[in-house]
Structures are given as structure tokens and as C-alpha cells.
């Protein structure tokens, strides 16, 4: 049944200016959903390995294609971000860092740590790849 007159609505997301805390919160969900897609890539890797060298070669070729690199870069960053921000959530669950100032500090820590960790993984990973 249609409303007979326009009633006032409570303000929703688009009313508010985006803040670090809200953006990080949305990004946590976004990376979580993206990582769900990433599990397909991991499963493909294991299945290809179990099937044999030909299937494994196809998987390797996909991963070293440009779309493979983009997906792996996104997957690794999403994983590092979701892990860092997840640890932030666990501290909140324990009752720590709930003051607004602390939430901002931990937010910036998550942003920096997720970038550094991703760079570290790729630095080490490409270093090993270069040797092999």
C-alpha cells in the first residue's frame, strides 16, 4: 500500500560526509566479499596441482597473465587489509580502543600496515621468484 503522504525519513548513509572510520568499515565488508571470490583462485590452484602438470601449467599461465597479476595483487591486498582491520575489530570486541581518537589512530595503523605487509609479501615473493 502506497503511503498517503510523504513522511520524514531518518538520515541514511548518503547524508553523512565519508569519514576514515566509516570508509574503513565499508572496505572491510568489500574486501571480505572480494576474498570470497579469491577462494575460487586458491581452490583452482590446489585442484590443478592434484590433476597434473598440464592443468597446473594452465593455472600458472593464467596467474602470470596481466589479469592474473591484477587479481593476485588485489587478492593479496584485500587479504592483508581484512586481516589487519579484523585484528582491529578483535581489539574492539575485547573492549580496547573504543575511544574516537583511538579508533582513528588504529584506523591509520591499519591503512599503513596493510600496504606495508602487501609490499613485503610481493618483495619477498618476487625475490624468491627471481632466484628460482
Amino acid at each position: 500500500m502506497a503511503a498517503s503522504k510523504q513522511r520524514p525519513l531518518s538520515p541514511h548513509l548518503q547524508i553523512y560526509r565519508p569519514q576514515l572510520t566509516s570508509v574503513l568499515s565499508i572496505f572491510h565488508r568489500l574486501t571480505g566479499v572480494a576474498l570470497s571470490g579469491g577462494t575460487l583462485l586458491l581452490a583452482w590452484w590446489l585442484v590443478a596441482g592434484a590433476i597434473g602438470p598440464d592443468a597446473y601449467a594452465i593455472f600458472e599461465a593464467f596467474c602470470t597473465s596481466w589479469i592474473g597479476w591484477v587479481l593476485l595483487a588485489g587478492f593479496s591486498y584485500a587479504l592483508m587489509y581484512h586481516m589487519c582491520n579484523g585484528i582491529r575489530h578483535l581489539f574492539w570486541d575485547g573492549g580496547f580502543g573504543l575511544e574516537l581518537k583511538d579508533a582513528y589512530v588504529s584506523g591509520y595503523v591499519v591503512v599503513v600496515a596493510s600496504v606495508v605487509l602487501t609490499a613485503l609479501v610481493w618483495g619477498v615473493g618476487l625475490g624468491i621468484g627471481g632466484e628460482g
Partner: protein, 124 residues
């Protein structure tokens, strides 16, 4: 004063019959996944650089197989719980919501089963 019966209060589950189980398991799997994902992220570049034969050798290590098994189970359980919350929050059509909830649960189970069988085939 409370209107709940003594038995209902003792069970503490309310009408949904599951209490804090979802919330709690999301946290338990999260805690488990921190070390597991660090190990996985450390393992992936090594395995990727090793080529097919090197990969086969790495996968025959029982410790590797154990860590990967735990990572798959905890990761996909965590994924199922997380997707459930996202679907419940954003999909308001009752039929579509139910279908997506079932699909996400079956999808997580299938990805998990396929991954685990592969890990065991490679380890044995």
C-alpha cells in the same frame, strides 16, 4: 520483572534458538585465521616459485597439508558466516535472500570439499 520462564532464561537462546553462536564463531575463526593466513601468505610465494615438481614436493609435507587443511576449513567457515551477514543486511526480498543464503552455504562447502580432497591427494 521478566516475562521469560525460568527454563527459557536458563537456556538463554530466545526464539531464534541459536543465541550468540554466529557472532562467536565469526570471532573464533577470525582468531584462528590470523596465524593461518600469515603462514599461507608466506607459503604461496615459495610454492609459486617452485614450479610443478617443487610444488608437489612441498605439498607432501604433512605440516603443510595440516596448515592448509585448517586454513581451508576456518577460512570457508568464516566466509560463510560473513556472506550470511552481508546477504541478510542488503537483500530484502525474502525469496532472493533465502536462495542466496543457501547458495553461499553450498558454495562454501563445495569449494572446501574440492580444496580438501586436492590437498589430501597431493599429500598422500
Amino acid at each position: 520483572m521478566t516475562l521469560r520462564s525460568p527454563l527459557g532464561r536458563a537456556r538463554g537462546l530466545g526464539s531464534a534458538k541459536e543465541g550468540t553462536h554466529h557472532w562467536w564463531m565469526q570471532r573464533v575463526t577470525a582468531v584462528a585465521l590470523v596465524p593461518l593466513m600469515i603462514l599461507l601468505v608466506g607459503f604461496l610465494p615459495v610454492a609459486a616459485a617452485a614450479g610443478y615438481n617443487g610444488f608437489l614436493q612441498l605439498m607432501q609435507d604433512p605440516i603443510t597439508a595440516t596448515v592448509l587443511t585448517l586454513a581451508v576449513i576456518a577460512g570457508l567457515y568464516h566466509m560463510k558466516l560473513g556472506l550470511q551477514v552481508v546477504i541478510e543486511d542488503y537483500v530484502h526480498h525474502e525469496g532472493a535472500k533465502t536462495i542466496l543464503l543457501v547458495l553461499s552455504a553450498l558454495g562454501a562447502s563445495t569449494i572446501g570439499a574440492v580444496s580438501l580432497v586436492s590437498i589430501f591427494m597431493l599429500a598422500l
